[in-house]
Symmetry: C2
Subunit: 592 residues, 2 copies
């Protein structure tokens, strides 16, 4: 993918893994010589040997990794027989085409969890989920959506909207207490662009479209949407709205709430939508505004009108290195308030910086190697950067050529004030694209008894250090408390900047060899880390959402009357709780 | 105010007019020589003779204005005796200080209408309102707010929040059908900045603070909020939220929904707020998002956390002239999508451009006059601009010096492509500041039987011309249908640009000499113009809101289930309809 023209190249087999992240042509594998390779040819990380990754893992976790000591994945994954509401089943058979519903174990299991929640994936691969979808329904039209809801009401069946399945908050976990038949409503067949309004730069798009496909289709007409969440290869427009998603290039294109101008949500009590997409308006209270982050609790999102853009004249990557995280953060602060921001800027800490280096191959040409050494010498010796403290920022600038030139000049000029040194466009592009490939890491290290995850928060500028320190401290305490082997791994990056704060994205990992039910310990630790975040001024989530994973922290987020309002508001559109996925304040544990 | 340091100078008497727009030291008066003067010294329009204004009015309305033929304002304005809920009154007397409540006719009348709705002001000055506030309560704290709501619940009294009183949508009109005692809750004593967080650039501000005072207070610490609605001298933070307000400099500082990070709303069922202000987060459905545009229907907004900014290093004005509106609009379109926008850019049509000229004095120095003539010659003769078609844009650029320089270069370079010519910084500043002074025009011309108003809408780029043409056509038809004397006046400006559309701000006026109940004809015409806007692709409002004036058009704006959802949602927080001001979908005519 070095040319950045497609995130789902048509010449590749885009079949996704069944229960793991990503596409089945891509996985990290370890060779006998302990080099690691990302299979396939999909990413710029694909197809070469990485000699430094295993040593990096060993170093940061303080372990010796036996590459033959694998944690065996279950071959036959257990699943309960479906709960069948016979009246409903008969009606579905009568009303829909045979290929629109499935009772197969595979389809049911695939729709019973998010693909990216460690807790859930762990249970699928090595244990057993608590509750399964009883039927999968493939929705093909707005009429289908209305009909399936009507049937669900008539027969008292629980419906759960399903998009890309990339939830990281247990939002797709099915409530074990749900006695009714649960139907997972897969919306990915609703993947058409209904219309494009070129002059007003709007498109009406069906909600089941996958991000990469949306960009592919728009790209054919010289257009883009520009919303690039890390999950763009798999996640859907409807899922973005339901999760209140954020894109890497939000500085230029906005987060999802800035992009969407109309949402069509089919609820049991009717269709919530505007009569037309609205440019900024004052129409009184806007029900639309409440739909961002609904997490599947209200109904089926069938389409949305989104802002689109002509393809930018120029996309330019860049990178900067700073002596340490504090200096880099001060740079971000000034940049964020300077009036000029690149489409994306991310600052990785020293540990993630070194992780990036560990993913390199040894295929550099002699010249590149020499150049690299010169740079390294300059950075470390001349500027006095400490290799164990230095950090890096990746930049993406987009727009008209003169605008990009202006941004670039501004970015690098300001960087000087903070001892920042340009690290080159290639490093920037590599850093930006790494996002897609490293998503496969978790499933790789899991094989070697390493359990890990990412989590994120938004934090006021003044609390960045405090939150990071608190998280690291808490993780250390828990690592000790649970008597886990080796060292704990924690690193972070700042992925978004705002006027009043930033998004911090943490990666952490624990070695769990010899530990019983590591996923339970993991859950307790993750919970405790979120507590630490909230106690120190961070938020419940920047863009992953709440789901069930973070439901207990809603009381730290909203006033009691706000929570009560949400519960009552749901009853206004779904009095029977047809959409009983029970996320957020509707989760069982959160009921009054 | 030419130095732009204060919108409510402390050395002036800032007493507002009782029922008209603005401050009592300022009004347009006509002298015997038919020159017009804006009294006082508050504005850059103040204190000189305008010889061209009366001729302009005569020309555009096709009338001969007799400056002695004045429409007499009622000296004693009628008011009904108050509806008194004795139990409630006794409780208020017991619980609050004597200066916190008032039954005087003056206070009651002042709180029974918006200061800027033609229909209402007309009734006050020349006729009679339908319903009056029965008591005015001056809320001084959050505890007061809770207590007055509790008393209102206990005694079944109707509460109506009151901020700056600058509503233009009949949102402050009291429902004639309301049988309960109506208490206007004036929040302007809650006008403190509670805290400032300089590092994270946030401030917690009580909701009753007037915009100009907010900027004054922040200014003492080198800070600004940057929200500048036309009403900033009088309107309040709480009012901005309730109306979903827009500021002239939104390109830099955002509209109100971009500025506010936490709202505290006291409802009969508790306090809707976040536990802390949130930088962008994904917390599930956000009740806060529903509060923008609540139009007083839900409760009392007592405070909000807002974004603040260091005072910009540079504020620079500018102006451009274009051969015609179409060309100017095409310029705006390209500029809006160029990635660089000044804090404010507004484009006035030829009629408003000439209106601006009609407000000039004859005090120009000889040199200025010569320069003016040269410019005029250049524009009209050399560039071939038609004086009856040319239009003007005013610009405000703010930020760091190098950013402002970049913006300026970009703006003027792009203007060349559209035959735009720089008109100078002075003209730009004058155009920007004119906004505040011309707000007094309506009350001036009303004396001479001229009834006029402004109204606004947001429109997709492609529909700008269609909407403007339709409005003008409809006004012509109505002018004929009602057999009104003279000609009708209509002009417009584009005041905001967005990715998918713009805000159009119309000014219109009708001569009603000899017409019975002109306010009724005016109402019917305004209604019909809004119909024309909606039929042609405009929205119900860009920033004025819906109130009662536009309530019938909500069915053209939201789906039936959306409207029903809002009605039910209100019941979740206000089951007794204590906040019975009945705006928007809660208006009588809009009930199911």
């Amino acid at each position: 993918m070095p040319d950045n023209t497609s995130l789902k190249p048509a010449d590749l087999d885009n079949t996704p893994w069944d229960h793991k992240w990503g596409f089945a042509d891509t996985e990290f594998v370890v060779h006998e010589d302990r080099t690691v390779e990302l299979t396939g040819k999909r990413y710029n990380l694909s197809g070469y040997r990485m000699p430094d990754l295993i040593p990096y893992v060993e170093e940061v976790l303080g372990i010796d990794l036996n590459i033959h000591d694998l944690k065996p994945e279950l071959e036959h994954k257990p699943i309960a027989p479906p709960v069948r509401n016979e009246g409903f089943c008969a009606a579905v058979v009568k009303e829909f085409k045979p290929d629109q519903y499935s009772f197969t174990d595979r389809d049911r299991l695939l729709h019973s969890h998010g693909q990216t929640t460690t807790d859930e994936v762990y249970k699928v691969l090595y244990g057993r989920l608590d509750r399964f979808a009883d039927m999968v329904f493939f929705c093909e039209s707005e009429a289908d959506a209305k009909k399936i809801i009507d049937l669900a009401r008539a027969h008292n069946v629980c419906l759960v909207p399903y998009g890309g399945g990339t939830s990281v908050s247990c939002a797709l976990q099915l409530p074990p207490t749900e006695k009714r038949m649960i139907v997972s409503v897969d919306l990915r067949r609703m993947n058409k662009i209904e219309w494009i309004d070129r002059e007003n730069l709007r498109a009406c798009v069906q909600a089941g479209i996958v991000g990469a496909d949306l960009e592919e289709e728009l790209g054919k007409q010289g257009l883009i949407c520009g919303h690039e969440p890390d999950s763009i290869e798999l996640s859907t427009l409807g899922g973005w709205i339901a999760t209140n998603a954020s894109g890497m290039k939000k500085n230029r294109y906005g987060n999802i709430e800035d992009i969407v101008e109309n949402i069509t949500l089919i609820t049991p009590e009717g269709v919530i939508e505007q009569k037309a997409p609205l440019c900024r308006s004052s129409i009184g209270m806007q029900p639309q505004n409440l739909l961002f982050g609904n997490e599947g609790n209200l109904g089926l999102i069938t389409k949305a009108v989104i802002k689109i853009h002509p393809k930018p004249e120029v996309t330019r990557y860049g990178s900067l290195v700073f002596p340490d995280m504090e200096t880099g953060t001060r740079y971000l602060y000034e940049l964020a308030h300077s009036g000029v921001l690149p489409a994306s800027i991310r600052l990785v800490d020293n540990i993630q910086f070194r992780f990036g280096l560990a993913l390199k191959g040894r295929t550099d040409s002699a010249l590149q190697k020499v150049m690299g050494d010169i740079k390294k010498f300059f950075v470390v010796k001349v500027k006095g950067f400490d290799p164990d403290r230095m950090v890096a920022a990746t930049l993406v600038m987009e727009g008209a050529a003169n605008e990009v030139a202006h941004q670039e000049k501004h970015l690098y000029r300001l960087a000087k004030k903070y001892n920042g040194l340009p690290g080159g466009a290639e490093a920037g592009q590599r850093g930006y694209m790494l996002t897609y490939a490293i998503a496969y890491i978790r499933d790789f290290v899991a094989k070697f008894h390493v359990i890990g995850e990412t989590f994120e928060t938004s934090v006021p500028w003044s609390k960045i250090r405090q939150v990071c320190t608190a998280v690291e401290k808490r993780l250390g305490e828990k690592h000790k408390e649970f008597n886990l082997p080796g060292k704990f791994y924690i690193s972070y990056r700042i992925t978004q900047v705002y006027h009043t704060g930033v998004c911090i994205y943490f990666m952490y990992a624990l070695y769990t060899k010899g530990i019983d039910h590591p996923e339970e310990i993991y859950d307790r630790i993750e919970y405790s880390l979120r507590q630490a975040i909230l106690e120190n001024g961070g938020s419940i989530s920047h863009h992953h959402g709440v789901g069930k994973l973070r439901k207990d922290f809603m009381n730290d987020t909203l006033s009691p009357a706000s929570i009560e309002f949400l519960r009552r508001a749901k009853q206004c559109v779904d009095p029977q709780n047809i959409f009983g996925v029970s996320n957020n304040v509707f989760a069982d544990g959160n009921e009054p």
